[in-house]
């Protein structure tokens, strides 16, 4: 399954394709475009990636989660290009025998993707300004310390 797309993410189709009789808990995370950030009104977002490395890294992260939590299935896809308010930017789906491992694995994947995958967000605001994002200072669950790069 693809990890990057320039088209709207087909969430329902992804869920259906991952269903399995072995799964007792499926967790779905959808990262969506918010109307405001840092007290500024967002007009739209643009995402870009260094695609060969981004695909490779997402694939590695998903594989690591499947192995660590013995998941039946896992999936992550990130949208690129221009996104409007409420569009879905990233979806992570994890399928475990029980919900606990599906929740933990899902959080692990999204946190690592935000921090380790070469994807960049350019936020365009309604006042005409724009700003590149920066996830490098993170306090996510897969790291026990704060990073400064």
């Amino acid at each position: 399954m693809e990890h990057l797309t320039n088209k709207p993410i087909e969430l329902i189709a992804a869920i259906e394709s991952l269903r399995s009789p072995l799964t007792g808990g499926m967790v779905i995370f959808s990262g969506e475009v918010r109307l405001s950030n840092n007290d500024k009104e967002v007009a739209y977002l643009e995402y870009e990636a260094y695609e060969p490395m981004a695909k490779k890294k997402i694939s590695e992260i998903v594989a690591a989660a499947k192995e660590r939590w013995k998941l039946n299935n896992a999936y992550c896809i990130h949208r690129l290009g221009r996104l409007e308010i409420s569009d879905c930017a990233i979806v992570v789906i994890t399928c475990g025998v029980h919900r606990a491992e599906a929740y933990d694995a899902n959080r692990y994947i999204i946190d690592r993707v935000k921090y380790e995958v070469p994807i960049w967000k350019n936020e365009h605001f309604t006042d005409g300004t724009n700003e590149w994002g920066n996830n490098s200072t993170c306090k996510c669950s897969v790291h026990s310390h704060e990073h400064h790069h």
Partner: protein
């Protein structure tokens, strides 16, 4: 001295300071750090972002003291902001 051809690609906020692809001819044995110094010479305003950027060759992060011995594409990766 033998010369090598390097293509530098920049992403994210670095595109504010550079074109997306820059071709350089360098002496074989130049370090990644020296390439970064050349970028800084081209636009000193990029220093803050360059200082916190990572470098990659063939989709793998490389150390800044790596010696470049052959033609390659060097990717400059400012802090990520996906998700």
């Amino acid at each position: 001295m033998e010369q090598i051809d390097i293509i530098i690609r920049v992403f994210g906020g670095l595109k504010t300071y550079y074109s997306e692809s820059i071709s350089l001819q360098l002496t074989k044995g130049t370090s990644v750090n020296e390439v970064m110094d050349k970028l800084l010479e081209m636009n000193s305003k990029a220093k803050e972002v360059l200082d916190i950027s990572q470098l990659a060759i063939n989709s793998t992060i490389v150390a800044k003291d790596l010696i470049i011995t052959e033609n390659c594409e060097l990717i400059v990766l400012p802090p990520f902001s996906g998700g």
